[in-house]
C-alpha cells in the first residue's frame, strides 16, 4: 500500500501529459460552448422563424446524458457527416454541445435580467438595435453570467473524464493505463481523484471570488 512514490510520483510525467490533454480538451470545449450557447440563445430570442429549431436543439442537448452524446458524436456522426475525424475532436464537440444547451439558457436569463429601460435609453440616444445590444446589453450580460460560466467550466472538467472511454489520452486514461500496467489501483486512482477534486475546487473557488467582486463592484447578483 505505501507505494506512493513508485506508483504516483514516478509516473508523474504520464499524469502530467494526461492533465494537459484534459485541460486542452476542456478549454476548447468551453470556448465552443460559449459561442454555441450565445448563438442558440440569440437565434431563440431574435430570429423568429428559427425559434422552434433553437429550442429543440437546446432541449435536446440539455436532456441527453453526456456519455450518450459522446458515444453518439464519436461513432454515429462520422458515418452521417464524415466528421469528426479524431476522437479528440469528438470529445470536445460532445462536451461543447452539452454545455451550449445550458449556457443558452444562462444567457437568456441574463439578457432578460437587464432592465428594458436601459435598451430604450440607448435607442433614444440614436443607437441601432444591434449597437444597443452590443454596447449596453451584452457587456452587462457577460458580467452577470461570468460566475455561471465558470461553474459550467467545472461541469466540463468533470464530464471530460468520460472521453477516456473513447480513447482520448486524458488524465483519466493515463491513470487507468498505469493501473493496468501495475495492477495496483489504490494509490494511482486516489491520486487521480484528488487531482480532479483539487482542480475543480480551485476553479469553483475562483468562480465564487469572481461573483463576490462582481457583486461588490457593480451590484450585480450572479444568476
Amino acid at each position: 500500500m505505501g507505494n506512493w512514490e513508485r506508483m504516483v510520483w514516478n509516473q508523474r510525467h504520464l499524469l502530467l501529459d494526461g492533465l494537459v490533454v484534459t485541460l486542452e480538451i476542456c478549454l476548447i470545449a468551453f470556448a465552443a460552448a460559449i459561442v454555441g450557447g450565445l448563438v442558440l440563445c440569440l437565434v431563440r430570442l431574435y430570429v423568429r422563424p428559427l425559434r422552434p429549431v433553437a429550442i429543440a436543439l437546446i432541449e435536446f442537448f440539455r436532456a441527453t446524458p453526456i456519455f450518450v452524446q459522446l458515444l453518439w458524436v464519436n461513432y454515429v456522426w462520422p458515418e452521417l457527416f464524415g466528421w469528426p475525424g479524431s476522437s479528440f475532436t469528438a470529445g470536445w464537440v460532445a462536451l461543447a454541445l452539452q454545455s451550449s444547451g445550458y449556457l443558452a439558457e444562462t444567457f437568456r436569463a441574463g439578457i432578460e435580467a437587464v432592465p428594458r429601460g436601459q435598451r430604450e435609453a440607448g435607442l433614444s440616444a440614436g443607437m441601432s438595435h444591434a449597437l444597443a445590444f452590443r454596447r449596453i446589453v451584452l457587456p452587462q450580460v457577460l458580467l452577470m453570467v461570468a460566475p455561471s460560466l465558470v461553474n459550467q467550466f467545472t461541469v466540463i472538467v468533470k464530464s471530460s473524464t468520460l472521453v477516456s472511454v473513447i480513447t482520448v489520452q486524458d488524465l483519466m486514461f493515463q491513470s487507468q493505463k498505469i493501473v493496468h500496467t501495475w495492477l495496483d489501483p489504490i494509490e494511482i486512482l486516489t491520486a487521480t481523484a484528488a487531482i480532479y477534486i483539487l482542480v475543480v475546487f480551485a476553479v469553483s473557488a475562483l468562480g465564487k471570488a469572481l461573483a463576490d467582486v462582481l457583486r461588490r463592484r457593480y451590484g450585480l447578483a450572479a444568476s
Partner: protein, 233 residues
C-alpha cells in the same frame, strides 16, 4: 450519407431487441432510485452538520460537501468500485469485491449528496430567524422546530433546484455501464457487438433518454410550480 442517415433512423434493430434494451433501461431507474435515496439522506445529514453550532461538525460537513461535490462522477464510480473494496479489505483482513450495482449506488449517492447538501443548506439558511425564535418562545425543542417549521418550508423553496439535481442524477446513471452494470448503454454495446450496427442503436438510445428526461423534467416542473403556489413560501 443519406444511406447512413436512413440507417441511423431505422428503428428496426432497436425494436427487435426492445426487450433487453428496456430491461437495461429499468436498471437505470433502479440505480437512480437507490442513489437518489442515499443522496437525499446523506445530503440532508451533511447540510445539518454544516449549520450546526459546533465548529468541528461544521467542518466535517463542509469537508464532505467539498470532496463529493467537486469529484467527477466517473472518477468516483471507478474509485468506489476498484479502490474502496481493497481499502476495506485491508482493514478487515479479507479480500472484498463490490457488486457493480452497489458501487454505482454508493458512488453516485455520495457525489449527489454533495449537491443536495448545498441545496438543503441554502434552503435552511433562507428561513427567517424570527420564525425559529417564535418556535423557541413557545418552548419548542430544536428538533421539533427543524421538522415542523424549517424542513417543510425548505422542501417547498428548494423543489425546483432539487428537481434539476434529480434529472442530473438520472443522466449520470448512464455511466454505470462502464463498470458492467447492465443498464441501457451496456445492453446497447452488447447488441452492437453482436449486430455490428451501431448507428440505429446509439441514435435510439439517445432519443430514448431524451424523451424520458425531457418529459419527466417538464412534468415535474409544472407540478412543482403548482404545488409551490398553493402556499406562499
Amino acid at each position: 450519407m443519406s444511406g447512413a442517415l436512413a440507417e441511423a433512423l431505422n428503428p428496426a434493430v432497436f425494436w427487435e431487441y426492445r426487450a433487453i434494451l428496456f430491461k437495461g433501461l429499468a436498471f437505470n431507474f433502479y440505480v437512480f432510485a437507490c442513489a437518489a435515496a442515499a443522496a437525499l439522506a446523506l445530503g440532508l445529514g451533511a447540510a445539518l452538520l454544516r449549520v450546526n453550532r459546533w465548529r468541528p461538525l461544521r467542518w466535517a460537513g463542509t469537508l464532505h460537501v467539498e470532496i463529493f461535490r467537486n469529484a467527477p462522477d466517473y472518477v468516483m464510480v471507478v474509485w468506489v468500485h476498484f479502490v474502496l473494496p481493497l481499502l476495506l479489505g485491508l482493514a478487515i483482513g479479507r479480500r472484498l469485491e463490490f457488486p457493480p450495482f452497489l458501487s454505482a449506488v454508493i458512488a453516485l449517492g455520495l457525489v449527489y449528496s454533495g449537491y443536495f447538501a448545498e441545496t438543503f443548506r441554502a434552503g435552511i439558511q433562507s428561513i427567517p430567524l424570527g420564525q425559529i425564535e417564535a418556535g423557541r418562545a413557545c418552548g419548542m425543542p430544536e428538533r421539533l422546530i427543524l421538522w415542523r417549521i424549517i424542513l417543510p418550508q425548505v422542501v417547498r423553496r428548494m423543489l425546483p433546484e432539487a428537481v434539476n439535481q434529480f434529472v442530473s442524477l438520472f443522466k449520470a446513471t448512464t455511466i454505470v455501464s462502464l463498470i458492467a452494470v447492465p443498464d441501457l448503454m451496456y445492453q446497447v454495446s452488447m447488441v452492437t457487438q453482436q449486430e455490428m450496427r451501431p448507428l440505429p442503436l446509439y441514435t435510439g438510445a439517445a432519443l430514448t433518454y431524451f424523451a424520458i428526461i425531457f418529459l419527466a423534467s417538464s412534468l415535474v416542473r409544472a407540478a412543482a410550480e403548482r404545488w409551490r403556489q398553493k402556499v406562499y413560501a
